[in-house]
């Protein structure tokens, strides 16, 4: 073949250029930047000053940041299991084509299509005390607790979880549906003939068969939980008293409100490490099971 040797490199170059400029270079920038103190609103720190791991030490001594870590931990630990169980349950209920299934699937899935900011404004209204249908519904079931979820320090985070749940459960259901539809039916039928039924059938036979989908759905749910904080902006701005601030929201706050460039680089490094740790663990666990 007399094809010019350089052609493939030219074809790859544009993609590589953008990936380098907006992923690789920034990655290096934050790694280096996190080691320097730089605060744009303090003259002494207007220009970067080397500080070793000073930014990280400061962060882990800052009660506000520790609160953010705790919030993010709770947010992820509550939201993701809820999402997985509900998405799988809905997929079971909606797997078979029957009367109304198309409509029901649409009802579960439609929030996926909305921008998160719209979902949040809709819920802001929905959760409003006095007008909000949410409290009226809860009162119908005998709830007499605090009225204003997003203004209540111990409920605001759960208000955010509620919105994220509503927004994402249908999206994740989609992957379980696809998994269930590709199941090897003969295996399931054989297990059923052997007397497995109900929850046992689900736990022992079906879940192992859709392990790949489960790992996959867990991963996208986790990454999604980290990279979407739009509802925090609309509903709580991290409040009251920092009780609903999440890592990515805090990153924004650090850089654009506190003008702390070095600190925000350190927060970026922490977010990336958390994501990588999760992705790698998840991958290793699933690989181990494949063997």
């Amino acid at each position: 073949m007399r094809r010019p040797r350089i052609l493939p490199y030219l074809l790859v170059a544009p993609t590589l250029l953008f990936v380098a400029a907006f992923t690789l270079l920034p990655l290096g920038e934050v790694l280096v930047g996190s080691l320097f103190k730089q605060k744009l609103n303090i003259p002494r720190f207007r220009h970067p000053v080397f500080a070793g791991f000073g930014n990280f030490v400061d962060l882990f001594h800052d009660p506000e940041f520790l609160q953010v870590l705790a919030n993010t931990g709770i947010y992820v630990a509550v939201l993701i299991p809820l999402l997985l169980v509900a998405a799988l349950g809905l997929a079971f209920l909606l797997e078979e084509k029957r009367a109304g299934v198309g409509f029901f699937r649409l009802a579960m899935f439609h929030p996926t299509v909305l921008p998160m900011v719209s979902a949040a404004t809709i819920w802001m209204f929905f959760l409003t005390p006095g007008y909000g249908l949410w409290n009226q519904a809860l009162r119908f079931f005998g709830y007499a607790g605090p009225q204003n979820w997003i203004g209540n320090p111990s409920l605001a985070l759960f208000g955010l979880i509620l919105v994220a749940f509503w927004k994402n459960v249908g999206f994740l259901m989609l992957f379980f549906l696809a998994g269930l539809q590709n199941l090897d039916r003969s295996v399931v039928e054989a297990a059923r003939l052997d007397g497995a039924g109900g929850l046992k059938l689900v736990a022992k036979v079906i879940l192992p068969l859709i392990r790949r989908q489960t790992v996959f759905v867990t991963t996208i749910a986790f990454i999604g939980a980290f990279q979407t904080v739009d509802h925090v902006f609309v509903l709580t701005q991290g409040g009251p008293s920092g009780r609903s601030s999440l890592l990515l929201y805090y990153l924004w706050h650090m850089r654009f409100e506190r003008m702390d460039v070095g600190g925000s680089d350190a927060v970026t490094v922490i977010i990336i490490l958390a994501l990588l740790a999760f992705t790698v663990t998840n991958f290793l666990v699933s690989e181990q099971h494949e063997k």
């Binding site: 920038e29 009802a107 299509v113 921008p115 009226q136 249908g170 609309v234």
Partner: protein, 274 residues
């Protein structure tokens, strides 16, 4: 798998769950269509005596939603256009040729899939400022012009073509760009549609990046515009007005989804790989 639940019980459960899921959007829609003069009251949560578009008119007069639409369309259009070109070129190279370092380069590009661009907000903000593109539409779009996900997806579909096919075409004197356009791209049509819809819904709905990289209504997209609207002092607790603004921002893409449901769902399924 046959389900053990009797079908009537299942139907009732599903109907209840669907009603719960649909309630927020339905209620916001109802609230947006109330005449502003009729106050909300307990027990009177749905429609008032008549429907009214007054809230929509007020919302449109308070913020330049038409401009926000154009900005969003320009930004998303630019990302889709450029990403399709860069990704099909790269995917073609990786699927069609063996060249020194191809595996390394592919892995380097795939790194992008492991680190969401949202996390790199701060350094990318500096880069865009440095390039003088702060508060411009190209500034919003630029970081997304190269995509590991798009490259990966297109390469997968290109690999489905038998290798000899490209070789045969080359022997027939076909140039590489003719090969790409007439042989490779047409076979990847389904992937391209899914890809376009997944880029569309991701960037149409994206908020944080456009928020930090814009500061004026002239370039602000719908999502950032809506959030600004909710924070305007004179809006206060005018829920009808807020709901109308939300509907203005939300409904067009939502209707498009209802019409092209199947294609959208395929797009969403493929976007999960990200």
């Amino acid at each position: 798998m046959r389900n053990r639940l009797p079908s009537l019980a299942r139907f009732v459960i599903l109907a209840l769950l669907s009603a719960l899921m649909l309630a927020p959007l339905a209620w916001a829609l109802a609230a947006s269509l109330r005449p502003p003069s009729v106050p909300f009251a307990l027990g009177n949560v749905f429609f008032a005596s008549r429907l009214s578009l007054d809230n929509y008119a007020t919302a449109l007069s308070l913020a330049p939603f038409a401009r926000y639409y154009l900005n969003t369309i320009a930004q998303v259009g630019a990302i889709i256009g450029v990403q399709l070109i860069t990704a099909s070129l790269a995917a073609f190279a990786f699927a069609r040729y063996r060249f020194a370092g191809d595996k390394v380069l592919f892995t380097v590009i795939l790194l992008q899939m492991m680190i969401p661009t949202a996390a790199l907000l701060v350094p990318n903000f500096s880069t865009i400022r440095f390039l003088g593109l702060y508060n411009t539409i190209p500034g919003i779009a630029l970081p997304f012009f190269g995509s590991a996900f798009a490259t990966f997806l297109l390469r997968q579909s290109f690999l489905a073509l038998p290798r000899d096919m490209g070789d045969a075409a080359a022997i027939d004197g076909c140039r590489w760009d003719q090969e790409l356009r007439h042989i490779f791209l047409p076979t990847a049509k389904a992937s391209i549609v899914a890809l376009v819809l997944s880029i569309l819904s991701f960037h149409w709905n994206d908020f944080l990046w456009p928020l930090v990289i814009t500061q004026s209504d002239a370039v602000r997209p719908l999502t950032a515009g809506l959030v600004r609207f909710t924070q305007m002092g004179e809006i206060g607790a005018q829920w009808g007005l807020l709901s109308a603004a939300t509907m203005i921002v939300t409904l067009p893409l939502f209707v498009a989804f209802l019409v092209f449901q199947k294609q959208f769902v395929r797009g969403y399924l493929s976007s999960g790989i990200k």
